[in-house]
Symmetry: C2
């Protein structure tokens, strides 16, 4: 297949990389097709990417990214976005969309027809722009979905066309300077003012920031880009009753000339560790008046007299935004697979090219490829394997959420509280574990590049800094385990009470795997105060081969979650005898983290295993042949062994393993690494990241690393300011005094 991204073939390939590619036991392209969902999709993606790479406007070039001040980067990001919209319009992208969001009411779809951002191709193009976060894309990702979910039909008919035509560019303004995830504590107020008390005809809202800690802070595009904000505020109705948190559409800037409207102060929040293209903003509202109907009124409304009325109650009211929240988490999980794979691609290609340390076993005077060191393998290969595991799990979770959403839209009764709780636990556990793992993994890839990993031109610095937010947004990774355990503890109760009907339902969920081991554990109630002992253990006669048996490894992970979960339940019980419920809960937080992590690990391994089995069963209709399934199965085994080694104390604690197993486990680990080593570069190539997207001097496809580093160095403005014999401002202003003047 021709690759339109590289019209001329690459001139030379680094000989080490060429040798790696010449001896692959599988076809990377087959995996590429699988990941894209078929060969034609690969072709289409590459063609779309080539539009960006070869766009004659030159605005997408990344050559000077690393030298720009963030003001320039923000300005450039906006220019990229506008150019992207131009390209899409010219190509007719979005003119014939099927809405990607099945939750969208049919009535709303007509209002966003022709919306280019609703097209999946738009996301391919956004990715092709080297994963530069482009501010206005949040308009579609956060703002429009909020209107679709929370506004009534009339409101949608009014606002959505403005959104589609970019007359309205919106942001989602929830977080405040003093308040993060605890939304009950938000302080911004929306106070109803009746017409009879001086309000506009029909009444109006006064949006106000009563304290410094109530200033909105962090929302993306709030600072400079957005002209509207969906503001989350406490509703004070006509009777001065506080009705809690609701959403209000607040105009920020003139749609004519973008100047701030009276009473509104916004600004960018300043430099961040990453994501500096984005104008995350702050906003202060000084008694800003907005019409009564700017309150989102699908689930509650306030009439002209200021009377508050809930329209839907309970679960039905909460479900849509609940599902949206889980979908955002699922996207974060799924996108981790790409970020981690990019980091692995850079570090593994570089480790194949970089040589260091002489081989004393022979005299050929060549240094070792760094990738041949066991430590480098232990650092990189499990990350590579995990990037594939997260891919499979991410797809599985997205599919499952889509199914649940479709069922809900269709009014099916199968989507019970248990089902929703389960997917909540799954997405929370996976979000917490997978994003922490990915963030640490990207940074490990950077460190594994040694000195040159410190260079911004490695591509790893920005990749890491941009990714890091995933650990904190949409539920801090250290807080989420509590939500996981709240759900899983209900299952423990059902097992303890032997509620057969309930367990039948649980059996169909992600946590179903816990029922059997929990039942066994509950039968043999363990001694209070000692850790729960697993009812499954590796035999004392186990050999090296037992540790290459993936299904046995999976059983071990299954029992591990069950034991750690039961420990939490028992610890909570016994703590409550001595302290208040809150204190008892607090004292269990660390155990909860362990149990939640165990749940996530099992789901990742199970989905990876099931995904491969599914492809195997498809036979020739799968993009993956036997060789590809074989190498991905090695990845699965490696990952299971790696996590067992990394979390070894859990397995020893539950006596699923004993000391004598440790050398076998580690020997198996070395063995699988040896097997996987020749496939490492191929498994990176299979992701088919263009050099344009990787933006890395170290991770180039051709391996021509050193000229790329020097080129990046020479382009630094610090060198350019001093063409004249290499003397710059620093000498003129300061050094001369020291050297010539004699301070």
């Amino acid at each position: 297949m021709s690759d339109p991204r590289h019209p001329t073939p690459l001139k030379t390939i680094n000989p080490d990389l060429a040798a790696e590619r010449a001896s692959l036991p599988f076809s990377p392209l087959a995996i590429t097709h699988f990941l894209d969902g078929g060969a034609s999709n690969t072709e289409r993606r590459r063609r779309l990417e080539s539009w960006i790479i070869r766009d004659p406007s030159g605005v997408f070039s990344n050559e000077d990214n690393n030298y720009m001040h963030r003001t320039e980067r923000h300005t450039r990001a906006l220019a990229k976005f506008v150019r992207l919209v131009e390209l899409c319009r010219a190509a007719g992208i979005g003119s014939n969309n099927e809405s990607t969001n099945a939750n969208t009411p049919k009535s709303a779809i007509q209002h966003i027809e022709g919306e280019i951002i609703a097209s999946p191709e738009f996301y391919t193009l956004i990715s092709a722009i080297s994963d530069d976060p482009l501010p206005p894309s949040l308009h579609w990702v956060m703002f429009v979905p909020n209107i679709l979910t929370l506004c009534d039909a009339e409101q949608q008919a009014h606002w959505l066309p403005l959104c589609r035509d970019w007359k309205m560019i919106g942001c989602y303004a929830q977080t405040e300077l003093g308040h993060g995830s605890n939304i009950r504590a938000l302080e911004t107020t929306a106070t109803f003012l009746k017409e009879s008390e001086g309000g506009a005809p029909g009444g109006e809202w006064i949006i106000h920031s009563p304290t410094l800690t109530s200033w909105k802070f962090w929302p993306g595009t709030l600072g400079k880009t957005a002209n509207y904000a969906m503001v989350i505020a406490r509703l004070i109705d006509g009777e001065k009753m506080d009705r809690g948190i609701h959403n209000f559409l607040v105009p920020l800037r003139s749609t004519k000339d973008h100047t701030l409207l009276p009473g509104v102060e916004t600004g960018d929040i300043g430099p961040k560790i990453g994501y500096n293209n984005m104008d995350n903003g702050y906003a202060r509202f000084d008694s800003v008046k907005i019409p009564r109907r700017n309150m989102a009124m699908r689930f509650a409304r306030v009439d002209e007299e200021g009377r508050y009325e809930r329209l839907w109650v309970g679960r039905r009211r909460l479900l849509p935004s609940y599902i949206t929240m889980m979908q955002v988490r699922a996207y974060i999980i799924h996108s981790s697979n790409e970020a981690l794979a990019m980091a692995c691609t850079i570090a593994i290609r570089y480790s194949a090219v970089r040589r260091q340390g002489y081989n004393t076993d022979n005299d050929d005077n060549n240094e070792f490829q760094v990738l041949d060191y066991r430590q480098q393998q232990y650092r990189l290969l499990p990350l590579l394997a995990a990037s594939y595991a997260i891919y499979f799990t991410g797809r599985h979770v997205l599919d499952r959420l889509k199914y649940i959403e479709n069922q809900l839209v269709a009014g099916a009764t199968t989507i019970t509280k248990t089902v929703v709780g389960d997917i909540h636990a799954t997405t929370s556990a996976l979000k917490s574990f997978a994003t922490t793992f990915t963030a640490d993994g990207i940074e490990d890839c950077r460190k594994a590049c040694g000195g040159h990993g410190f260079l911004v031109c490695s591509g790893l610095v920005e990749l890491s800094n941009t990714y890091l937010q995933s650990c904190t947004v949409e539920g801090d990774n250290h807080m989420l385990p509590q939500q996981v355990i709240k759900v899983l503890l209900k299952l423990v109760e059902k097992v303890q009470s032997g509620d057969v009907d309930a367990l039948k339902e649980y059996a169909q969920t992600d946590m179903g795997y816990l029922i059997e081991p929990l039942q066994k554990l509950v039968e043999n109630a363990s001694v209070s105060g000692t850790p729960t002992k697993s009812s499954f253990a590796f035999p004392s006669s186990a050999t090296h081969d037992h540790f290459l048996d993936t299904s046995m490894l999976l059983v071990a992970f299954q029992h591990r979650t069950a034991c750690l979960l039961l420990d939490v339940a028992m610890q909570l019980q016994s703590s409550m005898e001595m302290s208040s419920p809150q204190q008892a809960w607090n004292d269990c937080l660390l155990s909860m983290s362990r149990a939640s992590r165990a749940h996530a690990c099992y789901l990742l391994l199970r989905d990876f295993s099931n995904g491969l089995e599914h492809e195997r069963k498809k036979g020739p209709s799968s993009c993956l042949g036997d060789n590809e399934i074989a190498v991905l199965s090695q990845c699965l085994t490696l990952l299971a062994l790696y996590w067992m080694d990394q979390h070894l104390s859990d397995f020893l604690q539950i006596q699923c393993l004993d000391s004598s197993h440790i050398p076998l486990l580690r020997k198996a680990l070395l063995g699988v690494m040896t097997k996987l080593r020749p496939s490492a570069v191929g498994l990176c190539d299979a992701r088919d990241f263009s050099d344009f997207r990787l933006k890395s001097a170290l991770g180039r496809y051709d391996g021509d690393v050193y000229p790329a580093i020097i080129n990046a160095a020479r382009n630094d403005p610090l060198n350019k300011e001093s063409q004249n014999g290499g003397v710059g401002l620093g000498y003129d202003e300061s050094l001369r005094k020291l050297i010539v003047g004699g301070v």
Copy 2:
């Protein structure tokens, strides 16, 4: 004691911080005095810091650090340095130095008398400048010591006065683009050219970069600041013999106008993850000619005919640079304590001020202090404890190296190979472990600040980015364990062979603690293929109290190292039966890391324990009273329990602990955290970091966090470019098209 850094008292203190400080069970100031080495030192340090903070030139201000492009930051750093030299000259600093380096030959000292950088007060001032890396300071830290160590007396007499007077500003140019720590592979050549073959009178050197991978790359100040470089190159003598790596003093730039000299190309290497004040540079030498006597000739020389002669041989030749290398590592270890303490100070003060989540146990409608969550305590308190542990160990290692150096200078025979090997293992193990721990810890502190930890104004982003290099320079942390284990394996041999005389000597070294447990293990030779079982174990009847017994915990750590070390020895032996020595070594790398980490942990805990015991014995003459020793002892216990929990699988593997001990361990951990919680803010205050140095909106002494964040946001140039109604370039150039023009 008055604090000249804050001439007027702070107006208000955040009430939460005030409450923390009102109920401290110890005196932070007593600990400050201890850390400074006495009250008068504290006073002197504060006075020096106040010079910087209150300098009327304003050049030291950090207000706009975060908004500057790196070209500006580099220029500003040079201006800071020159201003600093001015201040020191005015104050007479350095005019009456005792050299801080006892290794400096007496004859050399006269050449650097009056050198301000030789004064310890200079370092206090450098630190006061908010830990901004100032390029020219490398001149003294890397370049001048190299002249002192490797040049002969005549060369020193010639060059040192030029160094002192800043006529010569030098850098140390070793690393090449393609070659890092394996210096045998360096490619730059220094080829001798006799006068008779066209060289200058007396012969000369041709310094040349034969390949792209041979370009010097990374040396600090090589790019723009230095006018001389100490270049490490392969010496090719008059007979065309390659004599290996030697040092050559190469002029780079004119001392008149700083222009590059013929044949030399240098430049800055471009943006890095941190340290962007510094012009790390690259250099290409195109047959640059330098005089014969520009080769450093203390240990080897080449005469006018190009004849090469080694002057000192073997150990005696290598020792001085060996000691220097270890001293640099020791400084890196010691300085980690400050970097980690700064991060803890920011995160802990912020966690005391930040409130999140309602207390359901009572109805007072106040949110929790984040520091009251167990997870936050588990993330931050052990780091705080470790910062003190690293302080004690850092001091101990520096003192020991100073002693060894003095003995060597005095010609003592007590400094045997064993002694030098031991301190090499100590510094390598500690450098690898303590810097990885600190780097991860700083990043954990950043993450523990939640969303606001992403803001550069948190101070944690730059602190982390600047620190990170410590993991890679002076021996990559993943490579160093091999060096540790090489040394420790010799001890294992001596124990195995029962060499009593040798063991007597080993008993006096840092690794002496291993002899007894190793002897026991060797007596009861364990079964091959199973992990070594500890000869010390917690009793099966152990209670919670056993885990609060620090001396028992230390014994456990002692035995852990011994077992893991013996495992490496046995694994190496058995691997060698099946594979080549190099392959066997490679397969053991992961076990070596574990054993090296265990060695480092034990040393850190032991030095902390010994340090506190030493102060206790001093009684009233110590700055630390009973209360301070009590709180630091809690830190020691916490750290031991934390590392036991973090590395739990090691202790279970060696059967020093069994499953039933785990709940006891974790309960003890919670208990110590509860005890230490009220002291947390005080232990940060005790470090006495000025707000000027912390540069953090979140870590301010007064806790007035939120106005500081808004202030930092408002100052971003992105906001300043758009005073006019808040509209900026991004709108003019792009957004207008989207909103008004309708792309």
